[in-house]
């Protein structure tokens, strides 16, 4: 059994994300488009490549029943059941990245040396319920 009073938990929606659905219906946890633009930051004088990259983001419901495509952990499945039985005790699991990819960035430093570096965990590859 779960203990503790329920708290109102409002989803913390990130601003500036390019969403691909304008409906109010609750969609299942999945990957959505999000493009990060170095050009929009005005950095094209020192970042050689890329101009930007598709970062994606995860959003959606992790509600009972969790379908297999939601990449839910066993704990998330259990938490979903508890929430379904008693919503005020525990929240629904979170929709979050389960796999992330790296990107490589090519840029100048102050001395006009050029750096090519890989940055891990920059792109959502898959979303899931945690």
């Amino acid at each position: 059994s779960a203990t503790g009073g329920g708290k109102q938990r409002n989803p913390n929606r990130s601003k500036g994300a390019k969403k691909n659905s304008s409906t109010d219906q609750k969609q299942a946890c999945k990957k959505h488009e999000l493009y990060v633009s170095f050009r929009d930051l005005g950095w094209q004088d020192w970042i050689i490549a890329p101009e930007g990259y598709a970062a994606y983001y995860c959003e959606g419901e992790c509600a009972f029943p969790l379908n297999s495509y939601m990449n839910a952990t066993n704990h998330a499945i259990v938490q979903t059941l508890v929430h379904f039985i008693n919503p005020e005790t525990v929240p629904k699991p979170c929709c979050a990245p389960t796999q992330l990819n790296a990107i490589s960035v090519l840029y100048f430093d102050d001395s006009s040396n050029v750096i090519l570096k890989k940055y891990r965990n920059m792109v959502v590859r898959a979303c899931g319920c945690h």
Partner: protein
Amino acid sequence: NFTLDNEFHSSFIHRRLKSQERREMQREILSILGLPHRPRPHLHGKHNAAPMFMLDLYNAMSTDGDEDRYSYPYKPVFTTQGPPIASLQDNNFLNDADMVMSFVNLVEHDKEFLPVRRHHREFKFDLSRIPEGEAVTAAEFRIYKDFIHERYDNETFRISIYQVLEEHSDRESDLFLLDSRVIWAAEEGWLVFDVTATSNHWVLNPGRNLGLQLALDSTNGESISPRTAGLVGRSGPQNKQPFMVAFFKATEVHLRSIR
């Protein structure tokens, strides 16, 4: 066009940001990139050989989903000048690297010492800005040799690269031979020299970085001017300027400092 995904090519800043918000946003992204501030590079060096070489490496990389490691088939990128700059060996170095850095040549002196009359050229590269926790796995010095038409048909040169150990005002510097090879006088293309050990030494001991020295000798031991032999220097085309490139592997996990 280096955009990874053209489908989403639209502004991602959907509302006007306040100055403070924009600064905070940029600071956050710079912290991800591991940079203390926004770089302000010189504009004149952007079309030099080093950026083009690095672009070759960047373009050779696969940008598919699986990027837990650098994994890509090497695709030679032919520049307008002909042969590719990056080589298959560079591809192998890249497989093991977390970071690649090319360095601008800071000085270049064609010198001639009398009475021995020994021609040579000096180069210096600033390796003091290497991020902490990065170790050199490979490093190369690259210099372009142009085709020369006259004087040296069917002749060979011996080209030697030295690490400068100590400089003297009244005599030649103390040198350590790094590499030496025989090239055809008529040869054209990039000459690549392994300077891995020297680079490691300079990263660990920045005060000992006194640069490199290049010298050429004919088959009969006569000192040859690098310029006469067709070695491109500062006065040459931008896309054939000499440079150094180093491949690094992270030796420790980079953690963002508390703000």
